[in-house]
Protein backbone atom coordinates (compact mmCIF):
# COMPACT_ATOMS: atom_id res chain seq x y z
CA UNK A 1 0.00 0.00 0.00
CA UNK A 2 1.53 3.34 -0.93
CA UNK A 3 1.85 5.74 1.98
CA UNK A 4 2.83 8.64 -0.23
CA UNK A 5 1.35 9.56 -3.57
CA UNK A 6 2.35 12.63 -5.57
CA UNK A 7 0.99 13.57 -8.93
CA UNK A 8 2.17 16.47 -11.11
CA UNK A 9 3.30 18.39 -8.08
CA UNK A 10 4.60 21.88 -8.72
CA UNK A 11 6.01 24.40 -6.31
CA UNK A 12 7.64 27.63 -7.29
CA UNK A 13 9.20 30.45 -5.36
CA UNK A 14 9.28 33.97 -6.69
CA UNK A 15 11.88 33.22 -9.34
CA UNK A 16 12.58 29.53 -9.28
CA UNK A 17 10.62 26.40 -9.99
CA UNK A 18 11.57 23.99 -7.21
CA UNK A 19 9.20 21.21 -8.21
CA UNK A 20 8.02 20.90 -11.76
CA UNK A 21 5.52 18.13 -12.38
CA UNK A 22 6.81 15.76 -9.73
CA UNK A 23 5.09 12.37 -9.42
CA UNK A 24 5.90 9.36 -7.27
CA UNK A 25 4.50 6.56 -5.14
CA UNK A 26 6.25 5.37 -2.02
CA UNK A 27 5.39 2.08 -0.40
CA UNK A 28 4.82 1.56 3.30
CA UNK A 29 7.74 0.55 5.53
CA UNK A 30 10.46 1.10 2.99
CA UNK A 31 13.62 3.06 3.48
CA UNK A 32 13.95 5.29 0.44
CA UNK A 33 16.89 7.53 -0.36
CA UNK A 34 15.88 10.88 -1.80
CA UNK A 35 18.90 11.72 -3.86
CA UNK A 36 19.52 14.81 -5.92
CA UNK A 37 22.09 17.47 -6.66
CA UNK A 38 22.05 20.80 -4.84
CA UNK A 39 18.88 22.70 -5.66
CA UNK A 40 17.16 19.70 -7.27
CA UNK A 41 14.02 20.16 -5.18
CA UNK A 42 14.58 17.49 -2.51
CA UNK A 43 13.95 19.71 0.50
CA UNK A 44 10.92 21.34 -1.09
CA UNK A 45 9.44 17.91 -1.74
CA UNK A 46 10.10 16.72 1.81
CA UNK A 47 8.66 19.88 3.34
CA UNK A 48 5.48 19.49 1.30
CA UNK A 49 5.20 15.87 2.47
CA UNK A 50 5.67 16.98 6.09
CA UNK A 51 2.90 19.56 5.72
CA UNK A 52 5.22 22.54 6.11
CA UNK A 53 4.90 23.88 2.57
CA UNK A 54 1.86 24.05 0.38
CA UNK A 55 2.05 22.92 -3.25
CA UNK A 56 1.08 25.33 -6.03
CA UNK A 57 -0.61 22.67 -8.11
CA UNK A 58 -0.91 18.92 -8.43
CA UNK A 59 -1.92 16.32 -5.87
CA UNK A 60 -0.08 15.22 -2.79
CA UNK A 61 -1.35 12.52 -0.54
CA UNK A 62 0.19 11.20 2.69
CA UNK A 63 -1.68 8.56 4.71
CA UNK A 64 -4.67 9.26 2.49
CA UNK A 65 -4.84 13.04 2.98
CA UNK A 66 -3.21 16.29 1.95
CA UNK A 67 -0.51 16.89 4.56
CA UNK A 68 -0.88 20.69 4.75
CA UNK A 69 -2.71 21.47 7.99
CA UNK A 70 -3.44 17.79 8.60
CA UNK A 71 -3.24 16.75 12.26
CA UNK A 72 -3.12 13.08 11.29
CA UNK A 73 -0.07 13.58 9.13
CA UNK A 74 1.60 15.70 11.79
CA UNK A 75 0.94 13.14 14.52
CA UNK A 76 2.31 10.30 12.41
CA UNK A 77 5.29 11.98 10.84
CA UNK A 78 8.38 13.83 11.89
CA UNK A 79 10.82 15.80 9.79
CA UNK A 80 14.39 16.10 10.96
CA UNK A 81 16.63 18.71 9.39
CA UNK A 82 19.06 21.46 10.21
CA UNK A 83 16.27 24.09 10.33
CA UNK A 84 14.34 22.29 13.05
CA UNK A 85 13.47 25.02 15.57
CA UNK A 86 13.47 23.98 19.19
CA UNK A 87 12.83 26.10 22.29
CA UNK A 88 16.10 27.69 23.32
CA UNK A 89 14.94 28.05 26.92
CA UNK A 90 14.51 24.32 27.53
CA UNK A 91 17.36 21.93 28.30
CA UNK A 92 17.97 18.96 25.99
CA UNK A 93 16.43 16.59 28.55
CA UNK A 94 13.34 18.78 28.83
CA UNK A 95 12.95 18.87 25.05
CA UNK A 96 13.06 15.05 24.98
CA UNK A 97 10.34 15.01 27.64
CA UNK A 98 8.22 17.34 25.51
CA UNK A 99 8.70 15.19 22.40
CA UNK A 100 7.72 12.22 24.52
CA UNK A 101 4.45 13.94 25.48
CA UNK A 102 3.60 14.65 21.86
CA UNK A 103 4.44 11.39 20.10
CA UNK A 104 2.57 8.36 21.48
CA UNK A 105 5.15 5.88 20.13
CA UNK A 106 8.12 7.85 21.48
CA UNK A 107 10.74 5.73 23.23
CA UNK A 108 11.94 7.99 26.01
CA UNK A 109 14.44 5.56 27.41
CA UNK A 110 16.07 5.05 24.02
CA UNK A 111 16.34 8.82 23.57
CA UNK A 112 18.16 9.28 26.87
CA UNK A 113 20.44 6.31 26.19
CA UNK A 114 21.37 7.76 22.79
CA UNK A 115 21.88 11.17 24.39
CA UNK A 116 24.43 9.77 26.82
CA UNK A 117 26.06 7.56 24.15
CA UNK A 118 26.71 10.60 21.97
CA UNK A 119 27.94 12.52 25.04
CA UNK A 120 25.21 15.13 24.87
CA UNK A 121 24.59 16.53 28.34
CA UNK A 122 20.86 16.62 29.04
CA UNK A 123 21.40 19.78 31.08
CA UNK A 124 22.71 21.87 28.16
CA UNK A 125 20.70 24.01 25.75
CA UNK A 126 20.43 23.67 21.97
CA UNK A 127 22.16 27.02 21.51
CA UNK A 128 25.26 25.61 23.18
CA UNK A 129 25.59 22.75 20.70
CA UNK A 130 27.94 22.72 17.74
CA UNK A 131 26.47 22.16 14.30
CA UNK A 132 27.28 18.47 14.32
CA UNK A 133 26.00 17.95 17.87
CA UNK A 134 22.81 19.72 16.94
CA UNK A 135 22.31 17.39 13.99
CA UNK A 136 22.91 14.47 16.33
CA UNK A 137 20.33 15.76 18.80
CA UNK A 138 17.72 16.26 16.08
CA UNK A 139 18.41 12.77 14.77
CA UNK A 140 17.96 11.27 18.23
CA UNK A 141 14.50 12.83 18.41
CA UNK A 142 13.73 11.53 14.91
CA UNK A 143 14.79 7.98 15.74
CA UNK A 144 13.04 7.83 19.11
CA UNK A 145 9.76 9.35 17.89
CA UNK A 146 9.02 6.13 15.97
CA UNK A 147 6.66 7.90 13.60
CA UNK A 148 5.05 5.90 10.82
CA UNK A 149 6.65 8.38 8.42
CA UNK A 150 10.11 9.55 9.39
CA UNK A 151 11.81 12.12 7.18
CA UNK A 152 15.50 12.87 7.45
CA UNK A 153 16.64 15.78 5.30
CA UNK A 154 20.44 15.83 5.28
CA UNK A 155 20.46 14.73 8.93
CA UNK A 156 24.20 14.21 9.10
CA UNK A 157 25.30 17.79 8.27
CA UNK A 158 28.28 18.64 10.43
CA UNK A 159 28.53 15.21 12.07
CA UNK A 160 31.99 13.68 12.08
CA UNK A 161 32.61 10.35 10.35
CA UNK A 162 32.37 8.35 13.57
CA UNK A 163 29.04 9.81 14.60
CA UNK A 164 27.66 9.38 11.09
CA UNK A 165 28.56 5.70 11.14
CA UNK A 166 26.94 5.21 14.54
CA UNK A 167 23.85 7.04 13.44
CA UNK A 168 23.44 4.89 10.32
CA UNK A 169 23.76 1.79 12.44
CA UNK A 170 21.26 3.05 15.00
CA UNK A 171 18.83 3.90 12.20
CA UNK A 172 19.16 0.44 10.70
CA UNK A 173 18.62 -1.30 14.05
CA UNK A 174 15.61 0.86 14.83
CA UNK A 175 14.20 0.31 11.35
CA UNK A 176 14.50 -3.48 11.60
CA UNK A 177 12.99 -3.59 15.10
CA UNK A 178 10.24 -1.07 14.36
CA UNK A 179 9.68 -0.85 10.60
CA UNK A 180 8.41 2.46 9.35
CA UNK A 181 8.48 4.50 6.17
CA UNK A 182 11.75 6.39 6.08
CA UNK A 183 12.71 9.08 3.59
CA UNK A 184 16.37 9.90 3.79
CA UNK A 185 17.95 12.62 1.73
CA UNK A 186 21.70 12.87 1.68
CA UNK A 187 24.66 14.00 -0.34
CA UNK A 188 26.52 10.87 0.66
CA UNK A 189 24.86 8.12 -1.38
CA UNK A 190 27.93 5.92 -0.98
CA UNK A 191 27.56 6.11 2.81
CA UNK A 192 23.88 5.25 3.01
CA UNK A 193 23.80 2.70 0.18
CA UNK A 194 23.72 -0.19 2.62
CA UNK A 195 20.70 1.25 4.42
CA UNK A 196 18.50 1.91 1.45
CA UNK A 197 16.09 -0.35 -0.32
CA UNK A 198 14.94 2.17 -2.90
CA UNK A 199 16.43 5.24 -4.46
CA UNK A 200 14.45 8.17 -5.81
CA UNK A 201 16.52 10.54 -7.87
CA UNK A 202 15.10 14.05 -7.93
CA UNK A 203 16.45 16.11 -10.76
CA UNK A 204 15.31 19.58 -11.82
CA UNK A 205 12.14 19.26 -9.77
CA UNK A 206 11.11 15.98 -11.32
CA UNK A 207 11.17 12.30 -10.46
CA UNK A 208 14.14 11.34 -12.63
CA UNK A 209 14.42 7.72 -11.61
CA UNK A 210 12.80 5.63 -8.90
CA UNK A 211 14.11 2.12 -8.51
CA UNK A 212 15.52 -0.35 -6.03
CA UNK A 213 19.15 -0.10 -5.13
CA UNK A 214 19.84 -3.50 -6.68
CA UNK A 215 18.34 -2.32 -9.94
CA UNK A 216 20.41 0.80 -9.74
CA UNK A 217 23.64 -1.17 -9.37
CA UNK A 218 22.97 -2.99 -12.66
CA UNK A 219 21.31 -0.08 -14.43
CA UNK A 220 24.37 0.85 -16.47
CA UNK A 221 27.70 -0.56 -17.58
CA UNK A 222 30.97 1.09 -18.45
CA UNK A 223 32.80 0.15 -21.61
CA UNK A 224 36.40 1.10 -22.21
CA UNK A 225 38.57 0.77 -25.29
CA UNK A 226 40.60 2.66 -27.85
CA UNK A 227 39.13 5.88 -29.18
CA UNK A 228 38.45 4.72 -32.74
CA UNK A 229 37.04 1.37 -31.69
CA UNK A 230 34.77 3.01 -29.14
CA UNK A 231 33.34 5.59 -31.48
CA UNK A 232 32.48 2.81 -33.89
CA UNK A 233 30.87 0.72 -31.16
CA UNK A 234 28.91 3.48 -29.50
CA UNK A 235 27.25 4.53 -32.76
CA UNK A 236 23.65 5.49 -32.00
CA UNK A 237 23.57 4.20 -28.41
CA UNK A 238 22.43 6.51 -25.66
CA UNK A 239 25.54 7.59 -23.78
CA UNK A 240 25.16 8.50 -20.10
CA UNK A 241 28.71 9.63 -19.61
CA UNK A 242 32.00 9.60 -21.42
CA UNK A 243 35.55 10.62 -20.65
CA UNK A 244 38.98 10.11 -22.10
CA UNK A 245 41.74 8.38 -20.19
CA UNK A 246 45.03 8.54 -22.01
CA UNK A 247 44.37 7.21 -25.50
CA UNK A 248 41.23 5.30 -24.63
CA UNK A 249 37.63 6.24 -24.10
CA UNK A 250 35.51 5.32 -21.07
CA UNK A 251 31.81 5.35 -21.85
CA UNK A 252 28.82 4.56 -19.68
CA UNK A 253 25.69 3.23 -21.37
CA UNK A 254 22.43 1.68 -20.21
CA UNK A 255 22.74 -1.99 -19.38
CA UNK A 256 20.23 -3.23 -21.93
CA UNK A 257 22.49 -4.73 -24.55
CA UNK A 258 21.26 -7.60 -26.69
CA UNK A 259 23.20 -10.87 -26.90
CA UNK A 260 24.56 -9.77 -30.30
CA UNK A 261 25.79 -6.48 -28.93
CA UNK A 262 27.55 -8.29 -26.12
CA UNK A 263 29.19 -10.55 -28.66
CA UNK A 264 30.47 -7.52 -30.56
CA UNK A 265 31.93 -6.19 -27.29
CA UNK A 266 33.89 -9.36 -26.85
CA UNK A 267 35.13 -9.39 -30.47
CA UNK A 268 36.29 -5.79 -30.33
CA UNK A 269 38.15 -6.63 -27.12
CA UNK A 270 36.54 -3.82 -25.14
CA UNK A 271 36.67 -3.89 -21.34
CA UNK A 272 33.31 -3.94 -19.54
CA UNK A 273 32.93 -2.93 -15.91
CA UNK A 274 30.16 -2.23 -13.44
CA UNK A 275 29.06 1.30 -12.52
CA UNK A 276 28.51 2.01 -8.83
CA UNK A 277 25.23 3.56 -7.69
CA UNK A 278 27.02 6.73 -6.65
CA UNK A 279 28.77 7.16 -9.99
CA UNK A 280 25.57 6.43 -11.86
CA UNK A 281 23.77 9.09 -9.86
CA UNK A 282 26.39 11.65 -10.76
CA UNK A 283 26.32 10.70 -14.46
CA UNK A 284 22.54 10.81 -14.61
CA UNK A 285 22.36 14.25 -13.08
CA UNK A 286 25.27 15.90 -14.87
CA UNK A 287 24.47 18.81 -17.13
CA UNK A 288 26.88 17.59 -19.81
CA UNK A 289 27.95 14.12 -20.81
CA UNK A 290 31.60 14.88 -20.17
CA UNK A 291 31.28 16.18 -16.64
CA UNK A 292 33.68 18.78 -15.28
CA UNK A 293 36.26 17.80 -17.93
CA UNK A 294 34.17 19.65 -20.52
CA UNK A 295 34.92 22.93 -18.77
CA UNK A 296 38.66 22.44 -19.19
CA UNK A 297 38.46 21.25 -22.78
CA UNK A 298 38.80 24.69 -24.45
CA UNK A 299 42.39 23.86 -25.46
CA UNK A 300 41.16 21.11 -27.75
CA UNK A 301 38.83 23.48 -29.56
CA UNK A 302 41.24 26.34 -29.89
Amino acid sequence: MPVIKCKDLTKHYSRKRALDGFSCMIEENKMTGIIGRNGAGKTTLLKILAGFFQENSGDVNVFGENPFNSLNVSANSIMIDQDMTLPTILKLGEIIEEANRFYPNFDRELAFRLLSYFSLDEKTYVTELSKGMRSTFHSIIGLSARCALTIFDEPTLGMDAGVRKDFYRALLKEFIAYPRTVLFSSHHLEEIEDLLEDVLIVHKGRNHLHLSLDEMKTYAIAVQGSKSMMSEWVGEKEVLFTKEIGGSTYTVVKNNLSADEREVLRMLDLTVSAVSATDLFVYLTNESKGGIDDVFRRDDKG
Binding site: S74, T85, L86, L90, A99, R101, F102, Y103, A148
Partner: protein, 243 residues
Amino acid sequence: MMSFVEMTRGEVIKRQYVYKLKAYKGSYSSLMIIQIIGLLFSFASIISGGGSGIVGFNYELNVYSTDFVVGFTLLWAFITGISIALQHYRYNDFAFVTNRMTSNFSNVLFLLTSALLGGVTATLIGVSFRLLYSLFNTVEIFAVSYTLSDLVIGMSASASYCLCFSAIGYLSGTIIQYHKLFKYLLPIGFIGLLIGFGEDMHPVFSFFFRETSFLLFFVKIVVTSVLCFVLASCISNRMEVRR
Protein backbone atom coordinates in the same frame (compact mmCIF):
# COMPACT_ATOMS: atom_id res chain seq x y z
CA MET B 1 4.75 -1.06 10.94
CA MET B 2 4.51 1.59 13.60
CA SER B 3 0.92 1.81 14.75
CA PHE B 4 -0.97 4.69 13.23
CA VAL B 5 -1.91 7.13 15.95
CA GLU B 6 -4.91 9.39 15.96
CA MET B 7 -5.07 12.55 17.98
CA THR B 8 -8.02 14.83 18.40
CA ARG B 9 -7.70 18.59 18.11
CA GLY B 10 -8.46 18.92 21.80
CA GLU B 11 -5.61 16.65 22.79
CA VAL B 12 -3.14 18.44 20.55
CA ILE B 13 -4.23 21.87 21.80
CA LYS B 14 -3.86 20.72 25.39
CA ARG B 15 -0.37 19.37 24.75
CA GLN B 16 0.65 22.48 22.82
CA TYR B 17 -0.66 24.67 25.64
CA VAL B 18 1.33 22.87 28.33
CA TYR B 19 4.37 22.91 26.02
CA LYS B 20 4.03 26.68 25.65
CA LEU B 21 3.70 27.27 29.38
CA LYS B 22 7.17 25.71 29.65
CA ALA B 23 8.78 26.90 26.42
CA TYR B 24 7.73 30.53 26.90
CA LYS B 25 8.67 30.72 30.55
CA GLY B 26 11.02 33.55 29.69
CA SER B 27 8.00 35.81 29.51
CA TYR B 28 7.27 35.36 33.23
CA SER B 29 10.65 36.68 34.26
CA SER B 30 10.36 39.61 31.87
CA LEU B 31 6.97 40.40 33.42
CA MET B 32 8.58 40.48 36.85
CA ILE B 33 11.39 42.73 35.71
CA ILE B 34 9.08 45.13 33.90
CA GLN B 35 6.78 45.39 36.92
CA ILE B 36 9.68 46.15 39.22
CA ILE B 37 10.73 48.92 36.82
CA GLY B 38 7.14 50.16 36.85
CA LEU B 39 7.17 50.18 40.64
CA LEU B 40 10.38 52.22 40.69
CA PHE B 41 8.82 54.71 38.32
CA SER B 42 5.80 54.91 40.61
CA PHE B 43 7.97 55.77 43.59
CA ALA B 44 9.87 58.34 41.57
CA SER B 45 6.77 60.01 40.26
CA ILE B 46 5.04 60.84 43.51
CA ILE B 47 3.66 64.28 43.03
CA SER B 48 4.19 66.41 46.07
CA GLY B 49 2.52 69.56 47.08
CA GLY B 50 2.00 71.38 50.32
CA GLY B 51 1.21 74.59 52.07
CA SER B 52 0.84 76.21 55.43
CA GLY B 53 -2.11 77.73 57.10
CA ILE B 54 -2.14 80.92 59.09
CA VAL B 55 -2.34 79.41 62.52
CA GLY B 56 0.80 77.26 62.40
CA PHE B 57 -0.86 74.60 60.35
CA ASN B 58 1.26 72.84 57.70
CA TYR B 59 0.18 70.23 55.30
CA GLU B 60 1.91 68.13 52.70
CA LEU B 61 0.09 66.30 49.99
CA ASN B 62 1.58 63.38 48.06
CA VAL B 63 -0.26 61.94 45.12
CA TYR B 64 0.87 58.53 44.12
CA SER B 65 -0.39 56.00 41.68
CA THR B 66 0.77 52.69 40.35
CA ASP B 67 -0.40 53.49 36.85
CA PHE B 68 3.16 52.89 35.70
CA VAL B 69 2.98 49.27 36.78
CA VAL B 70 -0.25 48.77 34.87
CA GLY B 71 1.07 50.63 31.84
CA PHE B 72 4.27 48.62 31.76
CA THR B 73 2.31 45.40 32.17
CA LEU B 74 0.19 46.33 29.16
CA LEU B 75 3.34 47.00 27.18
CA TRP B 76 4.59 43.58 28.24
CA ALA B 77 1.32 41.97 27.13
CA PHE B 78 1.62 43.64 23.72
CA ILE B 79 5.23 42.50 23.25
CA THR B 80 4.41 38.96 24.38
CA GLY B 81 1.63 38.89 21.80
CA ILE B 82 3.97 40.04 19.04
CA SER B 83 6.81 37.72 19.90
CA ILE B 84 4.85 34.48 20.04
CA ALA B 85 3.43 35.31 16.62
CA LEU B 86 6.90 35.64 15.15
CA GLN B 87 8.82 33.04 13.23
CA HIS B 88 10.94 31.43 15.93
CA TYR B 89 8.08 30.72 18.30
CA ARG B 90 5.74 29.69 15.50
CA TYR B 91 8.27 27.17 14.23
CA ASN B 92 8.72 25.76 17.73
CA ASP B 93 5.21 24.36 17.51
CA PHE B 94 5.98 22.54 14.31
CA ALA B 95 8.87 20.63 15.84
CA PHE B 96 6.16 18.43 17.30
CA VAL B 97 2.54 17.60 16.51
CA THR B 98 0.40 20.52 15.36
CA ASN B 99 -1.37 22.22 12.52
CA ARG B 100 -1.96 25.93 12.11
CA MET B 101 -5.32 25.86 13.84
CA THR B 102 -4.11 24.08 16.99
CA SER B 103 -1.02 26.28 17.00
CA ASN B 104 -3.11 29.46 16.97
CA PHE B 105 -5.60 28.16 19.49
CA SER B 106 -2.95 27.17 21.99
CA ASN B 107 -1.32 30.57 21.48
CA VAL B 108 -4.61 32.24 22.42
CA LEU B 109 -4.85 30.06 25.53
CA PHE B 110 -1.30 30.99 26.46
CA LEU B 111 -1.99 34.71 25.99
CA LEU B 112 -5.17 34.39 28.03
CA THR B 113 -3.15 32.83 30.84
CA SER B 114 -0.47 35.50 30.71
CA ALA B 115 -3.13 38.23 30.60
CA LEU B 116 -4.61 36.84 33.80
CA LEU B 117 -1.17 36.63 35.34
CA GLY B 118 -0.31 40.19 34.26
CA GLY B 119 -3.65 41.63 35.38
CA VAL B 120 -3.64 39.96 38.79
CA THR B 121 -0.03 40.80 39.60
CA ALA B 122 -0.36 44.41 38.44
CA THR B 123 -3.39 44.89 40.69
CA LEU B 124 -1.74 43.20 43.64
CA ILE B 125 1.30 45.39 43.22
CA GLY B 126 -1.00 48.40 43.46
CA VAL B 127 -2.33 47.12 46.77
CA SER B 128 1.06 46.24 48.19
CA PHE B 129 2.36 49.64 47.13
CA ARG B 130 -0.10 51.22 49.54
CA LEU B 131 0.98 48.89 52.30
CA LEU B 132 4.65 49.55 51.64
CA TYR B 133 4.06 53.28 51.48
CA SER B 134 2.26 53.40 54.78
CA LEU B 135 4.92 51.21 56.36
CA PHE B 136 7.70 53.62 55.53
CA ASN B 137 5.75 56.83 56.02
CA THR B 138 3.82 57.65 59.11
CA VAL B 139 1.19 59.57 57.28
CA GLU B 140 -2.47 59.39 56.70
CA ILE B 141 -3.46 57.75 53.46
CA PHE B 142 -6.52 59.01 51.75
CA ALA B 143 -7.41 56.37 49.29
CA VAL B 144 -10.46 55.01 47.69
CA SER B 145 -11.21 52.20 50.05
CA TYR B 146 -10.94 48.71 48.69
CA THR B 147 -13.45 46.00 49.09
CA LEU B 148 -12.88 42.48 47.87
CA SER B 149 -15.21 42.99 44.95
CA ASP B 150 -13.29 46.16 43.99
CA LEU B 151 -10.16 44.09 43.98
CA VAL B 152 -11.73 41.43 41.79
CA ILE B 153 -13.07 44.03 39.40
CA GLY B 154 -9.67 45.71 39.32
CA MET B 155 -7.98 42.44 38.51
CA SER B 156 -10.52 41.55 35.84
CA ALA B 157 -10.23 44.96 34.24
CA SER B 158 -6.43 44.85 34.14
CA ALA B 159 -6.50 41.29 32.84
CA SER B 160 -8.99 42.30 30.13
CA TYR B 161 -6.78 45.18 29.05
CA CYS B 162 -3.80 42.82 29.01
CA LEU B 163 -5.73 40.36 26.85
CA CYS B 164 -6.73 43.09 24.44
CA PHE B 165 -3.17 44.42 24.18
CA SER B 166 -1.73 40.96 23.64
CA ALA B 167 -4.39 40.24 21.01
CA ILE B 168 -3.45 43.42 19.16
CA GLY B 169 0.21 42.41 19.52
CA TYR B 170 -0.53 38.93 18.22
CA LEU B 171 -2.34 40.34 15.21
CA SER B 172 0.51 42.78 14.53
CA GLY B 173 3.08 39.99 14.85
CA THR B 174 1.12 37.81 12.45
CA ILE B 175 0.84 40.63 9.91
CA ILE B 176 4.59 41.24 10.19
CA GLN B 177 5.15 37.53 9.74
CA TYR B 178 2.95 37.59 6.64
CA HIS B 179 5.21 40.14 5.02
CA LYS B 180 8.40 41.63 6.44
CA LEU B 181 7.53 45.04 5.01
CA PHE B 182 4.84 45.49 7.66
CA LYS B 183 7.61 45.66 10.24
CA TYR B 184 8.04 49.25 9.04
CA LEU B 185 4.56 49.97 7.74
CA LEU B 186 2.71 49.14 10.99
CA PRO B 187 4.55 51.58 13.28
CA ILE B 188 4.59 54.26 10.60
CA GLY B 189 0.86 53.81 10.05
CA PHE B 190 0.13 53.89 13.77
CA ILE B 191 2.17 57.00 14.48
CA GLY B 192 0.84 58.63 11.32
CA LEU B 193 -2.69 57.94 12.50
CA LEU B 194 -1.98 59.51 15.88
CA ILE B 195 -0.40 62.62 14.38
CA GLY B 196 -2.81 63.06 11.49
CA PHE B 197 -6.03 62.20 13.22
CA GLY B 198 -5.11 62.66 16.87
CA GLU B 199 -8.23 64.68 17.61
CA ASP B 200 -10.50 62.30 15.76
CA MET B 201 -9.10 59.35 17.73
CA HIS B 202 -10.71 60.54 20.97
CA PRO B 203 -13.90 58.55 20.50
CA VAL B 204 -11.81 55.41 19.98
CA PHE B 205 -9.98 55.96 23.23
CA SER B 206 -13.07 56.78 25.21
CA PHE B 207 -14.76 53.73 23.72
CA PHE B 208 -12.22 51.55 25.48
CA PHE B 209 -10.97 53.60 28.40
CA ARG B 210 -13.97 55.65 29.56
CA GLU B 211 -16.57 52.95 29.81
CA THR B 212 -18.31 53.11 33.17
CA SER B 213 -20.28 49.89 33.03
CA PHE B 214 -17.97 47.01 33.74
CA LEU B 215 -20.04 44.51 31.82
CA LEU B 216 -20.15 46.67 28.72
CA PHE B 217 -16.42 47.32 29.00
CA PHE B 218 -15.77 43.61 29.35
CA VAL B 219 -17.85 42.81 26.28
CA LYS B 220 -16.07 45.48 24.21
CA ILE B 221 -12.64 44.19 25.19
CA VAL B 222 -13.46 40.54 24.63
CA VAL B 223 -15.06 41.19 21.24
CA THR B 224 -12.06 43.25 20.11
CA SER B 225 -9.64 40.54 21.27
CA VAL B 226 -11.60 37.76 19.60
CA LEU B 227 -11.69 39.76 16.36
CA CYS B 228 -7.90 40.20 16.47
CA PHE B 229 -7.33 36.50 17.15
CA VAL B 230 -9.70 35.38 14.40
CA LEU B 231 -8.09 37.72 11.90
CA ALA B 232 -4.61 36.52 12.91
CA SER B 233 -5.69 32.90 12.51
CA CYS B 234 -7.08 33.57 9.04
CA ILE B 235 -3.87 35.29 7.96
CA SER B 236 -1.62 32.56 9.32
CA ASN B 237 -3.65 29.61 8.13
CA ARG B 238 -1.73 29.46 4.83
CA MET B 239 1.67 30.30 6.26
CA GLU B 240 4.52 27.96 5.48
CA VAL B 241 6.94 26.61 8.05
CA ARG B 242 10.76 26.50 8.11
CA ARG B 243 11.12 28.53 4.91
